[in-house]
Amino acid sequence: MTETAGTPILEAPQALGAHDQHMVLNMGPQHPSMHGVLRLVVEIDGEIVVRLYPEIGYLHTGIEKTCEAKFYQQVVPLTDRIDYLSPMANNLCYCLAVEKLLQLEIPEKAQWMRVLLTELTRLNSHLIWLGTHAMDIGALTVFLYCFREREDILRIFEAVAGQRMMTSYFRIGGLSMEPPLDFFDRVQGFINIFPEKIDEYSNLLTGNPIFRNRLMGVGVLSADDAVALGVTGPNMRGSGVDFDLRRDMPYSCYEKFEFKVPVATAGDCWARYEVRLAEMRESVKIIQQALDGMPEGPIKADAPKIVLPDREKMKTQMEALIHHFKIVTEGFAVPAGEVYQGIESPRGQMGYYVVSDGTAKPYRVHMRNPSFATLQAIETMAKGRMISDLVAVIGSIDIVLGEIDR
């Protein structure tokens, strides 16, 4: 079949005459294994993938443009919507970037709370990945178990932020409010039972011969390719590159936590599965350390012109009321400059590039999202293999289309 009008040109198109046995197949944008609105234009020879071309942009909403029309503090809710499976990681990255521009000191308790909640976010995100990945492969049971535990995490988010998914809990200068009284007990209760649950998933999958055969040796990405193509996070560590921003370039007091960075060397789907499963166990350890060592103190920076005052103060003190009015109506000016803040999100290295021109609205906000770069490597991983392996690859690299298209 030849390419028809409207089909995007494959990269480096070859003479069609030689390929009259090949078929061009569109997977997506609506497809059960696509993890969002992704379209893959696949050239196949029988069932073998010859070439592969991701067509993205279906979810492009122009968030970067929208940011330029908002005050700095109004951008925080937008960052939730980029990656709807790990909102706290996006909140954190944006807040850290703006705080770096402002040179703002964040109280210790706020930093520890941020670590605790971003690690819960990591669990949340990895649970969705595990459930959907296993479901793509045909192991339906795990999906329901993962969503059962995810529900517990979402309840904790709801308790602390009032929202299950679009939390917007981190604010420039700290947190939006004190965590509720039973918050730490709830988190403790959750992580007491969670390691057993990881064992449960592992029991269902790790020894399962179908699952093993579908993943082992499939979608191999070498360490050099991973770094060259900008693949980061668990996908890169599955290829044997031992680098994690939390350990190597710590932010938000990660240097005070002890944890291992799981690395696997095979670079196939199975290695990525092992790395993520081990990462969940490490996250539990970090959360435990955060609970044990949670410092006392304020949760907001002492910067009345940037951080909204407490409700009580606002009702009783004239100055607080003025500050509140000023921040809400005029925002706050941020000194001119440009910063890039990178963090280790559940999917890899996330970065926010914020440029200020000295006014109350960001001049430019750019998000470097890990899935966008990971998608570049999909052809390398899936080429020369069966279509069904392509489904395993898409599941194993854990992409979210919201953050690819923004």
Binding site: H60, K65, G230, F243, Y340, R364, F372, Q376
Partner: protein, 167 residues
């Protein structure tokens, strides 16, 4: 590498304050004229590279250990001149450090050589900058729109493009 405590805001101050920085040394060894400005601000090092030398400078810093390409994006400084700033963020796994390369481009026919030959991971990012800012990357293997539809008119992230689009 010990970072200086204060910001170094001019080229002379950076060259004096960070004499042994591997990226600066690599760029100066490649071509002293390619480095038009540097700045060390808020713990981040920015090297401004003359546009015609970007590929060579990129290869030089890559050889100096800045192996992991992270990001390319642009800033539109409309109506000032030069109008476009292209920012490359490069991470070094060995030095555990990130640098920013910066290229300034004019408003008319902004064009710069691609760095995909140095870091293949720049492919999608340069396409995104092309799509949303209209900056050409010479030698790019597949410079097509990536976010917007192929028949879209205009480049949405330019400052003269209204937030709600053309009416």
């Amino acid at each position: 590498m010990s970072a200086p405590a204060n910001d170094l805001l001019t080229k002379a101050a950076v060259l004096e304050g960070l004499p042994d920085h591997p990226a600066i040394k690599a760029v100066l060894a490649f071509n002293p004229e390619s480095l038009t400005d540097t700045r060390f601000d808020r713990g981040e090092l920015t090297l401004t590279i003359a546009a015609e030398h970007i590929r060579g400078a990129a290869a030089a810093v890559k050889a100096a250990g800045y192996n992991a390409f992270e990001d390319v994006t642009a800033v539109d400084w409309f109506p000032s001149s030069p109008r476009f700033q292209v920012s490359y963020h490069i991470l070094s796994h060995a030095h555990k450090e990130r640098i920013r390369l910066r290229v300034m481009l004019p408003a008319e026919d902004p064009s710069v050589e691609t760095v995909t030959s140095v870091w293949p991971g720049a492919n999608y990012y340069e396409r995104e900058v092309f799509d949303l800012f209209g900056i050409q990357f010479e030698g790019h293997p597949n410079l097509r729109r990536i976010m917007m539809p192929d028949d879209w008119v205009g480049h949405p992230l330019r400052k003269d493009y209204p937030v709600e689009g053309y009416r």
